[in-house]
Symmetry: C2
Subunit: 120 residues, 2 copies
């Protein structure tokens, strides 16, 4: 009875392993459903259903080529994931910095030769 098909978050979409596999396949070039089916060895309805989810969520788009449909990647949704990660990247690079400072302090105490530290 007509309720709103709430747009699933991009995170739920990529939670599914087969969908991630499809996306990884498409990153090199566009593929037809049959090609995906063969390369990933999954049944055709499975591929189609996942492609539907990916398409409705904006991860892919398709063009018609005779009986085939060619699916290709669209960047926006994964960029959204990338954006969500940004604060955490700052977090862990801060941790790396702390580690570096720690190692530098070690250097002072035991001044042995050490490979050049990465520049900041």
């Amino acid at each position: 009875m007509g309720y709103i098909k709430s747009v699933e978050s991009v995170f739920e979409i990529i939670a599914e392993p087969n969908r991630r596999a499809i996306l990884s396949l498409l990153v090199s070039s566009q593929q037809s459903v049959g090609e995906i089916e063969r390369q990933l060895r999954m049944p055709q309805p499975t591929v189609s259903k996942h492609l539907r989810v990916l398409r409705e969520a904006g991860f892919v788009e398709s063009t018609v080529d005779a009986q085939r449909r060619l699916y290709r990647l669209k960047p926006e949704p994964l960029q959204e994931v990338d954006a969500w990660l940004a604060p955490f990247r700052r977090f862990w690079s801060a941790h790396l910095d702390a580690l570096e400072r720690h190692l530098d302090r070690m250097d002072q105490k035991t001044p042995t030769k050490r490979k050049t530290r990465r520049r900041r």
Copy 2:
């Protein structure tokens, strides 16, 4: 009966909105369960259960402070997500490059003034 509780993928872990909220909270500083509970306005068992999942998946670790437990972020699992994104980043920056080249061609055809293009 008695099958292996397969370690869920990091993607399934962050598919859950409440867990993402918790992680985002922890990025600024460590928090006790009660603090998380209040800030996110979710029932305490919910918080504890999500923290358990996050802990077992290595997203967080906890230390004991009297009756409280302080939870803090661990970087590795999210770095894993970041690593998975890498090929796609190359993909969409390639697309941006193509767009730039396209705009450059436009420049040549209609040489009107335009803001300085971002350098490569």
